[in-house]
Amino acid sequence: MGSAAFTGVYDQAAAAHLLRRAGFGASREHLARALELGLDKTLAEVFAQREHDDSMRVGMERLLALEKVEPVQAHWMALLIANRAPLVERVALMWHNHFATSFDKVLDSRLMFGQIELFRAQGLGDFRVLLHSVARDPAMLLWLDGDQNRSGQPNENFAREVMELFGLGIGNYTEQDVSEAARAFTGWGVDKRQAKFRGQYHDGGEKRIFGQRANFAGEEAIDLVLSQPACSRHIARRLLSEFVVPDPDAADVEAWAEVLRDEDWNVARTLRRLLASQGFFSAKARRARIAGPVELLTSVCIALGARPAPSQLARAAASMGQALLRPPSVKGWDGGRTWIHAGSWLARHEFLSGLMRGEISGSPPDLAAAFGNPGRDKLVESALSLLLPDGVPIPFRETIEAASRDALDDEDAARRVATLILTAPEAHLI
């Protein structure tokens, strides 16, 4: 796959692939614009879109006073379907899964919101800065018992996850590295929702981490993790599995780890090269991932202009197995094939069918407008070019065309066609 720049044909399918991965898909107009602009300008636009509607922030600061997680979940869904900063949100969702932290233990919606805001603010910046910030994030300190990590009674939870999940991956550290790093992290706690270093609880003795001996503090232990060759590979693997293919091969991981280091650990610059690479646009990468519930619901709403209440979307995602801010464990969501099982598939099917029937948001989306008012004869073509531009098997296309022909009227035809496409397995791949 490699890191060579893309030189192939940038067609509608390629543009749709880019917008699906760099964000959460596109409307018909947005897709047409991306095609018209070409790859470079589209990428420039994707990276420039970073600001949300300010009123959403002001209101949210007040709603946080309710001390409930549901408004935070709904707020995130609202930002996602508003689609004003798609890459920022895509990356925030990725880091939320990477540094998976759950409200169920933290029990503080402000801290959870603060952590997601941290991912929004720093998620595209220097990964090293991000890791240091996460280590001092109050939600993370509570989640991994950092506030209970004291000299003489070290709690290894945070140190272990920094190595196993956040920075290196299994096999790239020893148990001694974990226990010694845990000593380095002692003393940190949370006071009035802020991370606070309490010197009296810090272990000031000498520690041996990755073969180096010194009186390491927490920050230095993080730096040692970042200095390990495995770290850039670990992060490169995360970027590749999120943006390109779920199981990247070792050579690609190595190549992109080098790019990450070359770009001074800057995630945005690394992604800028990744999203313009030959590997990213390869056939192997197209529709290679099973969409998570949040990705699926967001992309359907954006593509069809559907606007259910964000709280409904958050609840629907939860019913499909992805409750935002409530990942099942410190490993996050397993994703991939685990997204689909009998129960979750039924939940996806019911929600999407209900959305098309207008049962979710009170009225169905304006499908005619979403498809560009194509008329009955071009309905199937227009719908497929928006929702499945990579093409579909002939029998499936014939089924959709038959449904369109048999419909009572144009509106019914659009609803039938959209429902059939969205409930087809292909539409659940991104």
Binding site: V58, G59, L63, A65, R110, R193, R307
Partner: protein, 600 residues
């Protein structure tokens, strides 16, 4: 002759019968009606079994004044209506002008002329189906007939029928010109009286009573007569009467929800005995009254005597032993009556068996707060059933003003044997704080800190959460800074220390000048007054959160949500105060009144 829809029939000239006005005027009222009080109106024309009667006599004067009616003028001038009208396709004046163009005559004056001698409606059951009769009486008989013919022509045109088929009546009933619109409606006209019904039989019966003046009618219903006798002494826009018992006898499911009110523990505890006892009523009346800047809705429920719900109402004629001197200040003020002892003693008859275990549970839990004391024997009997409520803007601790600020509230009750029971109440408050802290500790929540201080020589017990970190947001919980104090024989319990402290100062300063036993002047019923400006202030203070909540929970467009929240605040600014009051009128009746006073 069926010209238009299946039931179209013939007509007869009006000239062959006596003037209908002479038939319906009180001085020449038919015998049966006259015998029932000389009120020869629609009530004298419908069966005694009528379920609903509505008198809209006050509508015509309002129509006559039109947009110049003081109340309508005030509403039209308000920021709320101006804001709403800014989004409307036309102004009220333009809408009326359009109506005049469409109908060929001024809309409101014409409607006023058609109803200036009365507008009434009755609903009953005929052959197992709902049947209604509407009577409009106008002083200008020619106008009434002319308008009727015009409207019928328009209806015919609308349905693609021959317009001429309505130019003449389709038949007559006892000499009254009559038209039929399919099986749905029958209309008869005599002089200025227009009768409309969806049941031809009901219409014929009414005309028989009108002409013969014989047969029983609603006026023979004693309950109806006595209810209306009282209402006629007060000018009102509309008055309605509903026979709940009769409705229940016909269809018990229709009154099921209402009946459950009298047996609902939440209704008794939250809304009070007067509102709960409406569920036991045999008949109810509802009156709507308008004044220059006031809208009043008065509901009376009769037939409650004998129901267990009546046992927990205030004593008849007794003034309230108000624990605290009334004051017009503050965001809201209330005086409630909750006979907790009566509710406990009558619980087996008042409430469904399913909720009785909850009483035992509450008693047991409260015993924990009161150090093992039996609350039904030792505590509740010592508390006055009259409870004073004060709602006002509290002073929050520095650095702890909540991001979603809410008004504070305090309750004042009179306590018998205060030297013994008072400490029990204060102790229960402290125990409650301890229990809240235990629960909070299990969820890693901040703890309430207890504080004792002297205010005007009175010990004030309060609790508050530790100050939040700077810039870390102030959660909803900071709206709670609970406090209590015993001032002589008055126990004060409030959501905020500042509110309780202020009440202590006022009580010590002589505000507790009302008597304990109702001997001194005091209200004889419950009341709750809410200041519109305070409501508006709460809405505006929380507007950003309310708007976003509407976006997130209901999927509203942010602009739409903003407009709705602003409209809600403007409603508050338009209303000077909203007053809800209840009163036990006698052993059999209660009254619930809702009064809306608009800001000048």
């Amino acid at each position: 002759m069926r010209l238009f829809l299946p039931a179209l029939a013939c007509a007869l000239s009006i000239g062959s019968i006596p003037s209908a006005r002479s038939l319906i005027a009180p001085q020449s009222a038919p015998q049966a009606s006259a015998g029932a009080g000389g009120e020869a109106d629609l009530a004298g024309l419908v069966d005694a079994s009528a379920l609903v009667y509505v008198d809209l006599a006050g509508v015509a004067p309002v129509l006559k004044e039109g947009l110049g009616h003081p109340l309508i003028e005030r509403l039209l001038d308000s920021d709320l209506v101006q804001t709403l009208l800014a989004q409307a396709p036309m102004t009220p004046e333009e809408a009326l002008s359009l109506g005049q163009v469409l109908f060929g005559r001024p809309v409101l004056p014409t409607l006023a002329a058609l109803t200036d001698e009365g507008l009434e409606f009755a609903l009953g059951i005929k052959r197992g189906e709902p049947a209604y009769l509407l009577a409009a009486r106008g002083s200008d008989a020619g106008l009434t007939r002319q308008v009727l013919e015009e409207v019928l022509s328009m209806v015919a045109e609308e349905h693609g029928a021959d317009v001429d088929s309505f130019s003449e009546p389709h038949g007559s009933v006892r000499g009254l010109d009559t038209w039929y619109l399919g099986d749905e409606f029958a209309l008869s006209i005599a002089d200025g009286l227009l009768l409309i019904s969806n049941d031809e039989g009901m219409l014929r019966d009414a005309i028989d009573r009108l002409i013969d003046g014989q047969g029983t009618s609603l006026l023979d219903n004693e309950g109806f007569r006595s209810a209306r006798r009282e209402h006629r002494q007060v000018a009102q826009l509309a008055w309605s009467w509903v026979d709940i018992d009769a409705l229940e006898a016909l269809d018990a499911s229709a009154t099921q929800d209402l009946r459950s009110l009298a047996r609902s523990a939440p209704a008794h505890f939250l809304f009070g005995p007067a509102i709960a006892s409406i569920g036991a009523a045999g008949q109810t009346t509802l009156a709507l009254r308008l004044a220059d800047t006031r809208i009043e809705l008065v509901l009376e429920a009769a037939g409650i005597e004998g129901d267990p719900a009546a046992r927990v109402l205030p004593k008849i004629g007794a003034a309230a032993a108000q624990p605290f001197a009334p004051s017009a200040e503050g965001a809201a003020r209330g005086l409630f009556y909750r006979d907790l002892v009566g509710l406990f003693q009558n619980r087996t008859e008042l409430f469904p068996a399913a909720v009785l275990p909850q009483f035992a549970e509450v008693t047991s839990n409260l015993a924990l707060f009161f150090g093992g004391a039996d609350i039904s024997d030792e505590v509740l009997p010592a508390l006055s059933p009259w409870i004073d409520l004060v709602v006002d803007e509290p002073l929050f601790l520095d650095g702890a003003v909540p991001d979603l600020p809410l008004p504070g509230a305090a309750l004042v009750v009179l306590v018998d044997n205060a030297s013994k029971v008072g400490p029990l109440l204060v102790g229960a408050f402290q125990t409650a704080i301890g229990i809240i802290n235990v629960q909070g500790a299990q969820e890693m929540q901040p703890q309430l800190l207890l504080n004792l201080e002297l205010v005007e020589g009175v010990t004030l017990t309060s609790a508050h959460f530790p100050l939040p970190g700077q810039g870390q947001g102030v959660d909803m919980r900071y709206n709670l800074e609970p406090a209590c104090a015993l001032v002589g024989d008055r126990f004060v319990l409030g959501s905020h220390r500042s509110l309780v402290a202020e009440l202590v100062r006022r009580l010590k300063g002589g505000a507790a000048d009302l008597g304990r036993d109702g001997a001194t002047a005091g209200p004889s019923g419950e009341r709750l007054r809410i200041a519109g400006s305070a409501f508006a202030k709460v809405i505006r203070a929380n507007a950003a959160a309310l708007e976003l909540n509407a976006v997130l929970e209901e999927g509203k467009d942010p602009e739409v949500a903003r407009g709705e929240i602003e409209a809600l605040a403007l409603v508050g600014e338009l209303v000077q105060q909203l007053t809800l009051s209840t009163k036990r009128l006698d052993s059999d009746r209660v009254r619930v009144a809702l009064v809306l006073d608009l800001a000048e």
